[in-house]
Symmetry: C2
Subunit: 246 residues, 2 copies
Amino acid sequence: MSEQIMPLEENPGGSDFLPGLAMDFVIFGFHQYQLKILLLEYRNTDLFALPGGFVKKQENLNDAARRVLAERTSLTNIYLEQFYTFGDLARYDQVPMRTIMQAKGLVPTDEHWLLHRFISVGYYALIDFTKAVPTPDPLSDTCTWYDLDNLPGLMLDHADIVRKALQTLRADLDRKLIGYDSWAAPLLPEAFTMADLQKLYETILGQKLRRSSFQRKMLSLNILERLEKQYSGGAHKAPYLYQFKQ
Amino acid sequence: MSEQIMPLEENPGGSDFLPGLAMDFVIFGFHQYQLKILLLEYRNTDLFALPGGFVKKQENLNDAARRVLAERTSLTNIYLEQFYTFGDLARYDQVPMRTIMQAKGLVPTDEHWLLHRFISVGYYALIDFTKAVPTPDPLSDTCTWYDLDNLPGLMLDHADIVRKALQTLRADLDRKLIGYDSWAAPLLPEAFTMADLQKLYETILGQKLRRSSFQRKMLSLNILERLEKQYSGGAHKAPYLYQFKQ
DNA sequence: TTATTATTGTCTCATTATGGAACAATAATA
DNA sequence: TATTATTGTTCCATAATGAGACAATAATAA
């Protein structure tokens, strides 16, 4: 959902958008050694949902995804991957959306465009937790980070969407780390230690990795640049700092 | 495209289908050591296209895919994977479809539903070359196997779709071989030699593999059952026959 | 009948990758 | 100054893979 649908009176039929087509976003951020995603909450409904949006009639699908992401996070140049398109009839349940609209004081007819069946293209994004400015859409009240392993109940099939996003992310970790822009860069500070990077890997994969093997592998990939030593603050040898090359 | 759109007069607005949403299929078959895909040809137009179809309003997306595949191949129980959804505005070019319809003697108005913008969900399928009965859809004249490395020019972005399908298939080869049903089974006869399986791998990957390593790896996966020896016909030791377990 | 040929199944050994532990180095703290 | 925790690196055992060798053998040729 995006600014364009509010006030609903200005776009009563959703006529700027391709009908029946939506996007849902699993937006990952990393903070304090925990993987988080952005969720929208609808006050007085106990409903939580993934940020979503619609595609304009004169807009590329992937451009629409970037536009909506910018609206929800204030960030452009986001690491973004399309991962699956969800089209089960079971998605077509009017109850949650009707509840949300009623909690807003809106009384939609059965024909309201937001109550129609939607096919939804799933995207996952990796963003800098510290730079994002989470912004609710016109129908929701908050846009907040939630720990991935402590999510509230999500409406419709959004829990499935999160599961599939995480599964795809995990499967693509190694393959997508190399290349001009790494998925890991937006999740880490400019300069980071090898332990930081390993913790990030472990958090995403949900399993521990061997320290020496991890260091050996990362260095052999030739994608890291070693900087001067860091001030650690810990009672131990200070680790090197790294940044992604180029 | 499917039976339901012909004659067009019976479904003038495509009103049985979700508007603006299509599916495109890259249907792989393997024959005489070559990887082939099914293409539709439109007589008097020089246009070739991937088989495609639309989703009914009361149908799951993935069920629609199986329905259309059955229409084009006569096969059910097909190995099928959704791999990407294509939504660039550049797809929205009325010229090819208008040419196709005109070659059929149809003169669509600018508003004809087939001339609208479509977002298309891409699927790839792996099917038994010998069991399929390729069947053109109502607008096309032939549905024929083409060698993957000798394709004719395809309309719209269909060449991109093929490229992405092959790329996904290659990346998933090892991961998807194991499990209840292997991608390879539909592309090979009931019983096959290790050389057959290796040739199939090599053809899909587009590169040679080492024989001893390949054999070692396949046997270690524990997914093959070794049968009695085969009658070879070749002037050499007869190889074992295998079939996929269970 | 015997030799030839091509391909197979398996083995060997070198090379490379990975698991798991060891160890000295050292920044902060006690 | 000693202690502590963590680091960067090394080592070695184990596993995986690359590359080739070799005897076995079904069909064919001689």
